[in-house]
């Protein structure tokens, strides 16, 4: 007989790795929250084009320690024969090890931890501090809306709706009671199903009018910022509210209603007359959305470079919008060119708590704008 033992144990209760993994993922989530302003305006997300999962680079989830600068170190490797001095093994950012971006110097190194998150998850994190403000119950005759909610757990149901937690719990309970050796055996009688109920929710009756300047002076950066803002706004609204209608208006000297897709993809050129879009918004409200029945929100993004003769009219129309809307938001994107007489200066004359104006200078400003427009009321 040899001097050894071979055995096989039941490891099913050994959960340490899984638990610490969860703790790590929780930290990743915290890091995402902390870096939300940068992450939100990440190109990879806005351009993800329907892809549900995106890779988000997060800083500071590394385990820091004193270590050598990999970029300044000589490494040793092994070829499959005939490797020559001068051979290139890889490029920065490719598969070579230690492709860590900046090393010594004043810039922080770029040690990214890439986490996979879904856009829905990001939206949920965002939602923790945001909502449509000044929402009022506008429906006279209690217009209600049907929605489904998983509320009940039953013994019969559809396969796809198995409630795993409850099922496992039932199995454990049964096996424990019967003193079984294998606690994790699930039988048919343990199965529990989630079942939905139809609930009636009062409709929020919210309409968002998304207005974007698409004139020639709006460069790629300005358009990108405006799109990023609306990208998130639309997602937040869709997730949080039943039946939010969104109207997309795009304008240069003339305004027109466009589809969601056009709004986010099409560029235009030409001069700028912002009043055109406000006028269109007012017309649409008048014909389709009675302010007595709807919560109306209007957001407009522009670089502020408006035809100066038009500014006075703009001011007047914004005031009209304020009469019918719960909130009017104006975001001015400060591009590389500096305009002295921008719309912003004109709008400073407005003194109304339902008017919110923000200036966006960089990508991080998108998050700030979202926060300014959608801040929670206490």
């Amino acid at each position: 007989m040899g001097n050894f033992i071979i055995s096989k144990e039941d490891w099913s209760l050994h959960r340490k790795g899984e638990l610490d993994k969860e703790r790590h993922q929780q930290k990743v989530r915290e890091a995402i929250k902390k870096n939300l302003p940068e992450i939100l305006s990440d190109e990879a997300i806005i351009m993800s084009d329907g892809k549900k999962i995106v890779k988000v680079p997060i800083r500071s989830i590394e385990q820091f320690r004193f270590r050598y600068d990999l970029n300044k170190q000589k490494h040793t490797g092994q070829g499959s024969g005939e490797t020559k001095v001068g051979d290139v093994l890889g490029k920065d950012g490719s598969n070579a090890k230690g492709d860590k971006g900046k090393g010594a110097g004043d810039m922080p190194g770029q040690d990214y931890y890439e986490a996979e998150v879904s856009i829905d998850e990001l939206t949920e994190i965002l939602l923790e501090d945001l909502e449509l403000p000044h929402l009022k119950n506008k429906s006279y005759d209690q217009i209600k809306n049907e929605s489904y909610e998983f509320r009940d757990v039953r013994k019969k149901g559809l396969k796809g709706n198995i409630d795993r937690k409850k099922t496992v719990y039932e199995a454990l309970k049964r096996n424990l009671l019967k003193n079984r050796e294998n606690l994790f055996q699930i039988s048919d009688e343990d199965l529990r199903y989630k079942t939905w109920e139809i609930v009636e929710k009062p409709d929020s009756n919210a309409v968002v009018i998304a207005m974007m300047d698409s004139s020639g002076s709006m460069g790629p950066f300005e358009k990108y910022i405006a799109r990023t803002f609306f990208f998130w706004l639309v997602r937040i609204l869709k997730l949080k509210y039943q039946n939010v209608e969104i109207v997309y208006l795009s304008h240069h000297t003339e305004a027109k209603e466009v589809s969601e897709k056009e709004f986010f993809t099409k560029g235009e050129s030409g001069g700028t007359r912002c009043s055109s879009v406000y006028q269109l918004a007012l017309d649409i409200i008048k014909h389709r959305y009675n302010p007595n029945l709807y919560n109306l929100y209007a957001f407009h993004f522009s670089d502020g470079d408006n035809l100066s003769s038009d500014n006075e009219l703009c001011l007047k129309l914004v005031r009209e919008l304020l009469n019918v809307c719960n909130l009017v938001g104006y975001g001015e994107i400060e591009g590389p060119y500096y305009y002295t007489a921008t719309l912003k200066n004109e709008y400073k004359k407005i003194n109304n708590s339902n008017f919110v104006m923000v200036t966006i200078k960089d990508k991080i400003g998108v998050y700030q704008a979202l926060k300014a427009f959608l801040k929670k009321e206490n």
Partner: protein, 444 residues
């Protein structure tokens, strides 16, 4: 159960062959584990180790690679007596044969290599006790607080010195204590050794121990954690020092043992494939299995089999490579040095001495920067002065500035680190609020 019986028969056969080859090993406990478990052990370094999110991160990464079939740990050997070997559930029989043969190589190495002479062979139990203590602390002082403290301790875990002066003192002191009365520790309060130590300004490599021993702002539980982590690192250190040799030795023996086994044709093909996977060269690093194996085979060719047993007893990776990596081997294995040139990683050297010397250099201090405490009472203000012993490779400054706050957290007073940047001596300081760096005169 049939599988176990068959494995038992195989292991018995393999053990006999290994003994006949002259291998000298601890008794072995083989355990068949599911992937989650084996990857947990891989990430933690030990089945019984304490909990921390960094292990969870490592576990997640390893497990994901396994799930996507990118890598596989077939086995894990724990250096204890008896030796524990965990086999991956789902290994094919031939995989298990190879792995068992490999395990006998590791066990022989652990038992006989000089660097493991002082290893605590009950580390499985010791770490289990540590884990329990840390759980208790988490319960008593709060999970977050303990986690945060561990973050700091782990950031300097590799800065220890198994031969530190104060360790010897502490051990001697403990011996004295053992023979006298249980109240002797009262004397310590009157005549604390640490006060004396602080005055000394001899460079101390054991940063972790130094802080644990001299840190004035540590609570008892924190000090205890420091010494637990330090003890665990002391256990891992010889393994870090002998990785190439240890893997090479195990590979050398699994090949020889497998040759003695009666394999069917199908098994032989599967074995050959598996072996090729294990010994696959790596473009961006060194495959320790392959390099170690080739050197051992070369030593045997040149000096006979007795010699490899001697080498496995006395060398560590650094001396192993310095003494036995020859020109012929470097050329045969197509080893090269590469580094970053602009944005490209380029092969820069092929000359065998350069390759050998670079390997030896990067293995200094197990690949970690060598940092010493040169003053525990800097500026007469109890500040901590650290000095990086510069060996030609600069530190990662971003990492450095992220790590200093951890050291500050442990020490409780401003922390300085002197190193070389662009050929100039630079002092990095973190005072609890902000970073500062300044050029300093060459101290020699």
């Amino acid at each position: 159960m049939e599988e176990l019986a068959y494995l038992e028969k195989t292991a018995e056969e393999i053990e006999k062959i290994a003994s006949n080859f002259g291998l000298d090993f601890f008794p072995i406990r083989f355990e068949i584990c599911p992937a989650e478990i084996i990857y947990t052990f891989g990430a933690y370094g030990m089945p019984t180790r304490f909990s921390h999110w960094t292990f969870g991160k490592a576990y997640h990464k390893m497990k994901t690679q396994y799930d996507y079939n990118l890598s596989r740990i077939y086995e894990l050997v724990i250096n204890t007596n008896p030796c524990y070997a965990f086999l991956l559930e789902g290994n094919s029989l031939i995989q298990n044969k190879l792995v068992i043969a490999h395990v006998y190589g590791h066990s022989d190495f652990f038992k006989n290599n000089w660097h493991f002479k002082n290893t605590n062979r009950q580390m499985l139990e010791t770490m289990s006790v540590h884990a329990q203590r840390i759980d208790e602390f988490s319960f008593r002082y709060g999970k977050e607080k303990v986690e945060k403290f561990l973050d700091a301790v782990l950031s300097i875990e590799e800065h220890i010195d198994p031969f530190a002066e104060w360790i010897k003192e502490q051990k001697a002191e403990k011996k004295v204590k053992d023979v006298m009365t249980p109240y002797d520790d009262l004397w310590q309060e009157i005549n604390p050794i640490k006060r004396e130590k602080e005055k000394e300004k001899k460079p101390e490599k054991d940063l972790l121990g130094f802080i644990g021993y001299n840190g004035r702002y540590l609570e008892d539980w924190q000090r205890e954690i420091i010494f637990m982590v330090r003890e665990e690192m002391e256990y891992f250190w010889p393994q870090l020092k002998t990785k190439i040799m240890n893997e090479g030795w195990a590979a050398y023996w699994h090949i020889r043992i497998m040759r003695e086994l009666d394999l069917t044709e199908v098994e032989s093909i599967e074995y050959a494939k598996l072996n090729a996977q294990i010994l696959h060269p790596s473009r961006y690093s060194i495959n320790p299995y392959l390099l170690g194996l080739k050197i051992f085979e070369d030593i045997e060719k040149r000096y006979g089999r007795e010699m490899i047993f001697e080498v496995r007893e006395i060398d560590s990776d650094q001396s192993f490579l310095r003494n036995y990596l020859t020109k012929e081997l470097v050329e045969e294995l197509d080893l090269y040095n590469f580094q970053k040139v602009g944005s490209e990683w380029r092969v820069t050297e092929k000359a065998w001495e350069k390759v050998r010397d670079n390997l030896v250099l990067t293995l200094n201090n197990c690949g970690f920067p060598y940092i010493e405490v040169t003053d525990g009472d800097y500026a007469k203000n109890g500040e901590l002065y650290l000095k990086h012993r510069f060996e030609g490779i600069e530190l990662d400054i971003y990492y450095l500035e992220k790590t200093l706050p951890y050291v500050f957290e442990l020490w409780g007073k401003p922390v300085h680190l002197e190193t070389v940047v662009d050929r100039k001596n630079v002092l990095f300081t973190y005072n609890g609020e902000k970073h500062q760096r300044k050029l300093i005169e060459k101290s020699g």
